[in-house]
């Protein structure tokens, strides 16, 4: 393409343009963030202070009820005994498992030659690319209580009675299946990101460590991990955010959508309150709580990260 030249005199001086350029480039993302993120968040905070039911959704009018939704929420034993426990325990277990597995895969990948590496990376990308809904249905199908592969195998081996066992009704096994699902779809991101980091670690560091007599574990702990600390921080923060707000993978499971069931986490509970029971004010209060919890966790992580950076 031939370069186009403006025939008009420039409206701004060169310096003015320079100063404007970053802002010009930032306008689209800022606009998108404002419209798609800040607006809905503001609306949810507003909703959480209101008595907002189906009738209000229709009329558009609602009453301000102060902290009433939050008081109801925080005094509900269901929050403390079920929902919060599910959300936190699941997030911790899933994040640790995802990061550890992702790291191991990344270490494996870094030792491979280019061609095998491309093949393995492509394979794990398939797990990553699987949409959450289809992925969840595949897991439900694998774990089908009567006909599933796992049930058939366990019954064949005599581990489970021929009558079968409904693991979807057992909180531990329910979340074990969710964890499997989440780790399966989450580890490729960690592995690929860490692999990119691993390839930048200078070989000399490992050679020096080897000469000093460091074994594999010591080389990882004293060379790889400190060098890649920022990368680890990023994958951990992101995994935490994803695992805290996991929704489809729980909601679609048998028993995952029944109000008052012991399988709900904060995200699903918020949805069931809002759309199942048409209590949008209460649902919003739960969503605000989830957001605050996530912000808190993220701030703690980020502070830890920056403190480490200052020390070095």
């Amino acid at each position: 393409m031939a370069p186009r030249r403006s025939k008009h005199a420039p409206l701004l001086s060169m310096r003015g343009r320079r100063a404007l350029l970053p802002w010009a480039l930032l306008v689209p993302p800022l606009g998108v963030i404002g419209v798609l993120l800040l607006l809905p968040i503001g609306r949810i905070v507003w909703l959480s202070f209101r008595d907002f039911k189906l009738r209000n959704l229709v009329s558009g009018e609602s009453d301000f009820i102060g902290l009433s939704n939050y008081v109801t929420l925080l005094t509900d034993p269901y929050l403390w005994q079920t929902v919060l426990v599910n959300t936190l325990t699941f997030a911790v277990v899933a994040v640790v498992t995802t990061v550890v597995l992702g790291t191991l895969v990344a270490l494996l990948l870094s030792t491979l030659r280019p061609l095998p590496r491309i093949i393995v990376v492509s394979c794990i990308m398939v797990a990553w690319a699987m949409p959450a809904v289809s992925g969840t249905y595949v897991w439900i199908w694998i774990f089908d209580v009567d006909q599933g592969v796992i049930a058939q195998a366990l019954m064949g081996m005599g581990v489970v009675d021929p009558g079968g066992y409904n693991w979807f009704a057992d909180r531990f096994w329910f979340y074990a299946i969710v964890t499997l699902n989440i780790v399966h779809s989450g580890f490729p991101f960690v592995a690929v990101t860490l692999l990119a980091g691993l390839l930048t670690v200078p070989k000399e560091l490992y050679e020096a460590a080897r000469i000093d007599g460091a074994g594999a574990w010591k080389r990882f702990w004293h060379v790889t991990f400190p060098t890649l600390r920022p990368v680890f921080a990023v994958v951990t923060v992101l995994s935490t955010i994803w695992d805290f707000k996991v929704f489809a993978q729980i909601y679609l499971m048998p028993g995952g959508d029944v109000g008052g069931s012991e399988m709900l986490n904060l995200g699903v509970w918020s949805y069931v309150k809002s759309f199942g029971q048409n209590d949008f004010g209460m649902g919003s209060a739960i969503a605000v709580m989830l957001t605050l919890l996530l912000l808190g966790v993220t701030i703690v992580y980020l502070r830890a990260l920056f403190r480490e950076d200052e020390l070095r």
Partner: protein
């Protein structure tokens, strides 16, 4: 070179501003007022494929009114979310099919158009269903079809082992026990966990009430009375004690139950009147091998079963209310009213039409008609009832018992208490 770049990209601020404006503009001006086509939401679940029926109705409507019709099929489970979202986003359709149990809530919320001015003769509709759409003298829905649940069974298997249709609960249990032994690989009587309308008959049949209004206007539930418990216990014991069901059935809804029948896994199951056609559509081999019997009474007579169905409603404020009504009228009056019944297996919700079915010769239709006319029962016609369903109170009770997480006593206690709380808080 770098300078050239800056120069070339100068129009960026304007471009990006335009982009942002374009992005934000998408939010507005989407809802209602579109008179070119009529938007219709029809529910889909355990009925046979309805596409060709609605294509034909749409063509007929367009010929008479010059307005095209766009029908969208919505799975029952998604209906509520979809309607809420559409209300919030102002993207409601013009006509919607609403289940009887959900109509009072939407009528109460003020989202539906009052059709009382259009309906010339309300008495020609099944009255219990018509009442579901009535609030303060306004009619927010037109009864479209009634559905009822009885028991579909494998006639060939019954005959092979010399069994008759059972006449009371004990006979039902004995028949199932015997068939379970004779057909080891089959499920004699699935006891589903995620199908509340399959649980209600046993509560009623035992002598309990899911919810009943007291003289002072409060609601009480007697699921936890000895009678209610006896019914629930009988049903769940078919799975827990007699092993006539399968462990996985705890997670089954009515669609899964129907699939168990059409996959030739189950011998008999509580099923909807629209199921025989859908089952034969799925598995033509079962033609002439199915039978239906009315839910037998605990001792004799019949056990009451949940009579549901759908009303057609028109949303308020779409600007198309007049045309929407004409479409509703086309479906609930005359030819298409009856044809939908014949094609779907549901019953047209008109008094005359239903009575016609009671004399039906069709063994897959007549027992359902008897059940509907003599032993049909509905849930309370109050807005708060839909909360009981949305919260899955009866589903949770049933699943807790089947999973062994609660005894019948504990689970029925919790369910009765929750139902009373919801219904009494809502009024």
């Amino acid at each position: 070179m770098a300078r050239r770049r800056v120069h070339q990209y100068l129009p960026l601020p304007a471009a990006s501003l335009a982009l942002v404006l374009a992005a934000t503009a998408c939010g507005g001006g989407d809802g209602g007022g579109d008179t070119d086509t009529l938007q219709v939401w029809i529910m889909e679940g355990t009925n046979p494929d309805a596409t060709s029926f609605f294509d034909e109705v749409g063509t007929a409507f367009e010929e008479d009114n010059g307005i095209g019709v766009e029908v969208e099929f919505v799975p029952w489970q998604d209906a509520q979310d979809k309607i809420s979202t559409a209300i919030a986003g102002d993207t409601l359709p013009d006509v919607v099919e609403l289940g009887t149990t959900f109509t009072p809530e939407y009528a109460d919320a003020g989202v539906l158009h009052d059709l009382s001015g259009y309906i010339d003769d309300p008495s020609r509709f099944q009255q219990e269903m018509y009442e579901m759409g009535v609030a303060d003298d306004a009619a927010y829905g037109v009864p479209w079809y009634a559905s009822i649940r009885s028991i579909i069974y494998r006639k060939d298997i019954f005959e092979e082992h010399g069994h008759e249709e059972p006449a009371n609960w004990e006979e039902l249990r004995d028949t199932a026990l015997d068939l379970a032994e004779a057909e080891e690989d089959m499920i004699a009587f699935p006891v589903p966990g995620d199908a509340q309308y399959s649980v209600m008959p046993w509560i009623w049949g035992g002598g309990g009430e899911v919810a009943v209004e007291e003289a002072d206007g409060t609601w009480s539930s007697t699921i936890d009375s000895p009678e209610g418990r006896a019914g629930v216990e009988f049903f769940t014991d078919l799975a827990l004690e007699d092993d006539l069901s399968t462990t996985g059935a705890v997670n089954w809804n009515e669609i899964d139950v129907m699939e168990a029948l059409s996959d030739e896994q189950a011998i008999m199951a509580i099923s909807n009147s629209s199921n025989p056609k859908a089952i034969i559509e799925n598995n033509p081999d079962l033609e002439d091998r199915l039978g239906v019997f009315v839910l037998p009474g605990q001792e004799d007579g019949y056990t009451e079963s949940f009579a549901g169905g759908s009303l057609l409603s028109v949303f308020e404020g779409t600007g198309n209310e007049e045309a929407a009504w004409r479409y509703v009228d086309l479906l609930t009056n005359g030819e298409y009213f009856e044809r939908w019944g014949e094609e779907s297996g549901f019953f047209p919700a008109g008094v005359e039409e239903i009575e016609g079915y009671a004399e039906s010769e069709d063994p897959l239709v007549q027992p359902f008609a008897t059940q509907l006319l003599e032993a049909g029962k509905s849930t309370p016609a109050v807005p708060a009832w839909s909360q009981v369903e949305a919260e899955g109170v009866i589903v949770k009770m049933q699943q807790d018992i089947l999973n062994g997480n609660a005894s019948v006593e504990e689970a029925t206690d919790t369910a009765a208490e929750t139902i009373e709380n919801i219904l009494n808080e809502g009024n």
